[in-house]
Symmetry: C3
Subunit: 154 residues, 3 copies
């Protein structure tokens, strides 16, 4: 049953987590036309924040990139929950990356590359996206990174 | 003349404010296709910021939720100005929530729930939306919360 | 060959820069349907950040507005790279403005007006957009402002 995208995930050694269920009156994704809007995902692993803290302070660049990659894995898990088959993804349109940052930390783009690189590893050229990457002083639950997404599907 | 959504608003005891007029070369909303993009709304009441300051410092969680609810009321007022009839709302697609936060405050999702809960109270299942909730150190005019929206309409 | 919009740019004395090439696995823009999503643009001039630092600290309101205007020029350069002819722009739908801000600086809307005003100067009524303007403590490469865009085209 697994499509090509899921085979790619398997080759990358990535097991998609259970897509996090709605926690409140917002939902993890909404479909409008052929666009899938995915709520801001945190670097959750096994149901809890795997990487918390602040870049430029307690979190290294490498761990920030791992956090961004985890956010991207959770985005893909939501896309699978929404679409059933990840091969329906036509284009990752946009990622919005928020990086918990000390005032002097200005390397947000390299942090968010952890997510961007995974999208291309998983979806190929369809994974190339527009994005914004900004610093913020603090994120929900103390997460190091939060990323949301808009995905075009067929 | 009032549609069902406006009856719901009345039952909730919510009087929509006059939609704030454009303050500059940006406008409070733009329609593209069947999507309504609403500019970031502040917790304005009677023409001024009702709740200013920083969560985790001068603003309590409860007041932050009230601020988020006020932002949502202003989003709905803009939707009415844009669409005429709120019953044309098919889906609140996405809310973007920014919470003015002290460095140690990590409860942004519960703050933004003040807006999410109102959307579902007003629009029912059509009010369930994707969202991002992040902390920032400061917002326009010192507002405690800012929220923008994408709404699908018919 | 220059369309009307490029004539307007020339009258404004604005030479579009070379659109910055993709720096990584994200790209400067993605087209989905008739919407152009432009990645967050920094106040780059001649290939480097022209205005860095923090509003309310080392950067004046006037310089912040210049930074926002530069971001807008870079957005327009990306739109030209994407669409070929800027006269294809039907509407600037949304700008997302992030302003590097000291905790006490609350004038983000006036900063982002530097971009909003340029969009209307260049595109006329089609340049009037929805927007969000928020403060953040720090931006990539120390930039004073970052702005992303959604543009409808024909």
């Amino acid at each position: 049953m697994a499509g090509n995208t899921e085979k790619t995930l398997a080759k990358l050694g990535i097991a998609l987590p259970q897509a996090a269920a709605p926690a409140a009156n917002y939902v993890p994704f909404v479909i409008s036309g052929n666009l899938l809007f995915v709520s801001g995902q945190l670097p959750m692993e096994n149901g809890k924040i795997a990487i918390s803290g602040t870049l430029g302070d307690s979190v290294s660049l490498e761990d920030g990139q791992k956090a961004a990659r985890l956010c991207a894995i959770n985005i893909i898990a939501q896309a699978k929950a929404a679409l059933g088959d990840l091969d329906r993804v036509r284009r990752v349109v946009r990622l919005g990356g928020f990086v918990a940052s000390a005032n002097g930390f200005t390397d947000q783009p390299r942090v968010v590359n952890g997510a961007s690189d995974l999208m291309v590893a998983v979806f190929g050229d369809a994974g190339r996206h527009a994005r914004a990457a900004v610093g913020v002083n603090v994120l929900p639950l103390g997460a190091a990174v939060e990323i949301d997404a808009i995905i075009e599907f067929a």
